[in-house]
């Protein structure tokens, strides 16, 4: 029997505001514990929350970027649970009336987008290694507590681990593009839970789902989902039921462990937050969010593909990595041809700089790359010579035209200049010349190679081929 997989994601994005969601403490990053707290985020008796206007603005930006309906009147609710990282004994979140609902990104429907506050950090101390299960005491640091979070919930539209990874990469790049978060999974500013179920192909009813919690890298998410899908399939094939539960994936051991606690099932006892009034979205707030919305990666990829004729993969690569796309568009402004420039950017340049480097910070100015590619497309230099120029640009920057000049890398002027070199090559290898003359095209490469060597790559391969045939009377 074949099975199909259904995945829905719940993503928490830490917003990059200056202050926390409901108090004026500056957001904490790596400070000494408990140095970013106040009566509100410590939940001292009598303290009251007031929502951060910028967090609402960021929430609206996210809603617009994901094509959501923005709720004209959204409300905060209290989600109650006792835990040392939750100082009030409840989290202020949005339950009944989220900030945004509906929407779509990269073919995955968005169910809802809402704002809430992050929990504090519980540092497990004692018991040596600091592993959760062995320690008897924990220490709570409230610096992170109250950081604005945007929770994005997808519909169960995802059918594979790869698609989940792709969606998250697009989501990350979109969040970066609109500037609401640094979306760094390793640092926890993007966190993802996955709801996973499988069912026999063709069956209408969804299978029992499990929740995979707190995965902190794209690779682990894909591996975790694959492991969980395999586990569920194993159970079903063995005639055993899948039990609804929350699981933790350990990327080191590839093992899934149940996080089911001894406690009774959660009963969050949601009710409307009486300390906060409903958030009504004014025309000004909406206008400001619309004005702040840049071109989004998905739209940019479409534009690259349709208007510039780029291959879909290349278009996506440039659009997904906004810094690469920005660099490309700046280079394009020199009048370089879009397709070769895109290839030079995504292949030669990225190879030389490293996959994660921001080209804007390299020695190669975008205009320099544009000019270089134009030299190639205008046949002023050969591709091989251009690679030499690019090496030089990467190493020390500069102007490609000047480098071509000083290094004497300009393409050979044409037949006059090249013909004697070709003739010399044929003369040096008479056996090969003979074979070509007899109609065997394979050894042509050897002649071209010899000419290239002689000219330091400045010869045009096609011209060499033409001259060989001419000189051999073919």
């Amino acid at each position: 029997m074949k099975y199909e997989t259904t995945i829905g994601l719940e993503i928490h994005v830490q917003l990059q505001t200056r202050t926390k969601m409901f108090c004026s403490c500056a957001l904490g990053f790596g400070e000494e514990p408990n140095t970013r707290t106040c009566p509100v985020c410590l939940a001292l008796p009598g303290a009251l929350p007031v929502a951060n206007a910028e967090a609402i603005h960021f929430g609206l930006l996210i809603g617009l970027a994901l094509g959501c309906d923005l709720n004209p009147l959204s409300k905060f609710d209290r989600k109650q649970y006792f835990y040392p990282d939750s100082p009030k004994g409840y989290q202020i979140s949005q339950n009944e009336e989220p900030l945004c609902s509906g929407g779509e990104l990269g073919g995955v429907r968005i169910h809802r987008v809402h704002l809430e506050e992050d929990a504090a950090k519980t540092i497990h101390s004692g018991g040596g290694g600091g592993r959760i299960l062995s320690s008897a005491n924990s220490v709570v640091d409230f610096n992170r507590g109250g950081t604005p979070l945007c929770e994005i919930v997808t519909e169960p539209d995802i059918t594979s681990a790869e698609q989940a990874g792709d969606f998250l990469r697009l989501l990350r790049t979109t969040m970066r593009r609109i500037g609401v978060s640094d979306v760094n999974m390793e640092e926890g500013s993007l966190r993802c839970d996955a709801n996973i179920s499988i069912r026999p192909s063709g069956q209408a009813q969804l299978g029992v789902k499990t929740e995979l919690k707190n995965m902190n890298s794209f690779r682990f998410i894909e591996r975790g989902i694959r492991a969980e899908v395999a586990r569920q399939e194993g159970l079903l094939r063995a005639g055993q039921p899948v039990v609804q539960e929350t699981l933790h994936f350990d990327p080191r051991t590839e093992r899934l462990t149940s996080m089911r606690s001894k406690e009774e099932a959660h009963d969050y006892r949601y009710f409307p937050e009486p300390d906060l009034t409903p958030v009504s979205i004014t025309a000004e707030m909406l206008e400001r969010a619309r004005a702040a919305l840049p071109e989004l990666p998905a739209a940019r990829a479409g534009r690259f593909e349709q208007e510039l004729g780029l291959h879909p993969d290349t278009a996506r690569l440039l659009a997904w990595r906004a810094e690469l796309g920005d660099y490309y568009e700046e280079a394009l402004a020199t009048g370089a041809e879009p397709v070769p420039l895109a290839n030079w950017t995504t292949n030669e340049l990225v190879q030389r700089l490293g996959a994660d480097a921001d080209p804007a910070t390299s020695n190669v100015r975008p205009a320099a790359l544009g000019v270089l590619v134009t030299l190639v497309t205008q046949k002023k230099i050969t591709a091989a010579a251009a690679k030499t120029v690019l090496d030089k640009l990467v190493a020390e920057g500069g102007d490609p035209t000047a480098i071509v000049e000083t290094e004497n890398l300009a393409a050979m002027g044409g037949a006059d200049e090249l013909a004697p070199v070709v003739a010399a090559a044929l003369e040096a290898q008479p056996a090969i010349a003979e074979r070509i003359k007899n109609g065997d095209p394979k050894p042509m490469g050897a002649i071209i190679g010899a000419v290239m060597k002689e000219t330091k790559g400045r010869a045009d391969g096609k011209e060499v081929t033409r001259l060989v045939r001419e000189q051999l009377g073919l």
Partner: protein, 473 residues
């Protein structure tokens, strides 16, 4: 000498101080000495002798001592909300309303006893012992602002801050024979007030007369950026001056006068209505068809919010902790040991009504009743200027009389709860005696009608001529 000072109203004292006719330190010392000799258990903390020196030299209220209900946070000063779970807790910040009053010139005299977390109608639910009623020390002062009411009535403070969630200013004011104002919800900041039920809690003044109440309230009101539910009062607040009630229409809610009102209270109430008519008011019956459901809705909403608000008392960041090896045991034992019986009851009730499967039947329904009650009030205020009721169905009862019967205790709030649910302002002023104990008259007006409400109360006060001087002796 002291007797003369104590006889001054707060306004008279403030005027005398600013005119240079009264020495602020001497005035403060007189109150401090009386408070230190407090036999009513009205205070849980009293300021140092030199408390007056911290006071600013200017401000309309320059140098007038202020008693503050324990649940207002005061930096470095015990703020325990009458609870054992906060025993010895000294917050690192001060409630907005106390800051405002300090800026206006008042000096913190002491923190007053109260029912634990403001839950109660008799002040018997304090971890620091009951407060005695200065009119009869075998009786309760009412609650939850019982310490504030008793202190003002007994001349242990010129005036005091209280909070009212379902009657906690008005009922003790009535039972102690003083004036208590529950302002429009949102007109006074709740920041720094240890919360009972956030959507109902409102700070207000307890004072010897209506003018003092108006003066204190004038400096309490105002929009606070730290309280998202606070609103600017749309009118400038002025001191009352009315001498009569000419042209005013008073409404007696026919649905709110039911059984259970003591005959002596009813008699005083009816006499008060007659005096109102003599002052030029007309009195008519009005319908508040859903007011009778107020208590039911209140005892869903307030416990629900309290169960949530009190979740922060978990033994982690402040207050009592009962040590235990595992976290859950630490939580449950700390909360068992730190909360008194009434608080436990309401936390349980509130948790129950919010728990899975019960929300719609209880919480959502109670919110709908709230809508109906607010609409009832809006309709009534189209016909009349103010609603009038007895503040409490009875006079001060004996200590221990109702402690075994929570429901009977809750019925004390029968007349005061609807106004809290509707968010409208209401004032209680003493209108007479029943068996030698004060009876309170409640006047309620539309939202933000405080100026007119205090004016009417001012005219009535003069007509009633109620004299509480005897218990200040």
């Amino acid at each position: 000498m002291t007797a003369e000072l104590i006889a001054l109203s707060a306004k008279a004292a403030a005027d005398a101080i600013s005119a240079g006719e009264l020495d602020r330190a001497e005035y403060f010392a007189a109150y401090r000495a009386r408070s230190a000799a407090d036999e009513l258990n009205a205070y849980v903390w009293i300021s140092e002798e030199g408390g007056a020196r911290a006071a600013p030299v200017s401000g309309e209220l320059g140098g007038v001592p202020l008693a503050v209900k324990d649940l207002f946070c005061t930096e470095g000063v015990p703020s325990q909300a009458g609870s054992k779970i906060l025993e010895g807790y000294r917050p690192p910040y001060t409630a907005t309303v106390v800051e405002q009053l300090t800026a206006a010139g008042t000096v913190l005299l002491g923190k007053t006893n109260q029912d634990e977390f403001a839950m109660g109608s008799s002040n018997e639910n304090s971890a620091y012992g009951p407060v005695l009623n200065p009119w009869d020390r075998t009786r309760v002062p009412g609650g939850s602002s019982g310490g504030s009411a008793a202190a003002v009535a007994a001349g242990l403070a010129p005036w005091a801050l209280g909070t009212d969630t379902g009657g906690s200013i008005r009922q003790p004011a009535a039972l102690c024979g003083i004036v208590g104002l529950k302002p429009t919800y949102g007109s006074v900041s709740r920041y720094g007030m240890i919360a009972f039920a956030s959507s109902l809690d409102q700070a207000g003044p307890l004072a010897r007369d209506v003018t003092d109440a108006a003066l204190l309230y004038r400096h309490m009101a105002g929009r606070d950026p730290r309280d998202a539910t606070s609103v600017a009062h749309p009118e400038e607040l002025v001191l009352p001056s009315a001498q009569d009630l000419a042209g005013l229409r008073l409404g007696v809610p026919e649905d709110l006068t039911g059984e259970g009102v003591e005959p002596g209270v009813m008699a005083a109430f009816e006499a008060a209505l007659a005096q109102a008519e003599a002052l030029g008011a007309t009195v008519e019956r009005v319908a508040l068809p859903h007011a009778d459901y107020g208590l039911s809705a209140y005892y869903v909403l307030a416990p629900a919010e309290c169960s949530s608000n009190l979740s922060r008392f978990d033994g982690v960041r402040y207050g009592l902790r009962t040590p235990a090896d595992d976290l859950t045991a630490m939580y449950t034992q700390t909360r068992h040991d730190g909360f008194g019986p009434e608080v436990k009851r309401r936390v349980m009730l509130g948790t129950y009504v919010l728990s899975s499967g019960f929300y719609d039947a209880y919480y959502a329904s109670a919110q709908k009743v709230r809508t109906l009650i607010a609409e009832d009030f809006a309709r009534a205020f189209e016909r009349v200027d103010f609603l009038v009721t007895p503040t409490s169905p009875g006079v001060a009862f004996e200590l221990g009389a109702l402690t075994g019967d929570p429901l009977a205790m809750y019925l004390n709030d029968y007349f005061t709860v609807p106004m809290s649910l509707a968010g409208v302002p209401a004032i209680s002023l003493p209108c007479g005696l029943s068996d030698g104990l004060p009876v309170g008259l409640q006047l309620a007006g539309p939202a933000f009608s405080e100026n007119r409400l205090l004016d009417a109360a001012h005219a009535l006060e003069a007509a009633f001529g109620f004299d509480g001087a005897a218990v200040r002796a």
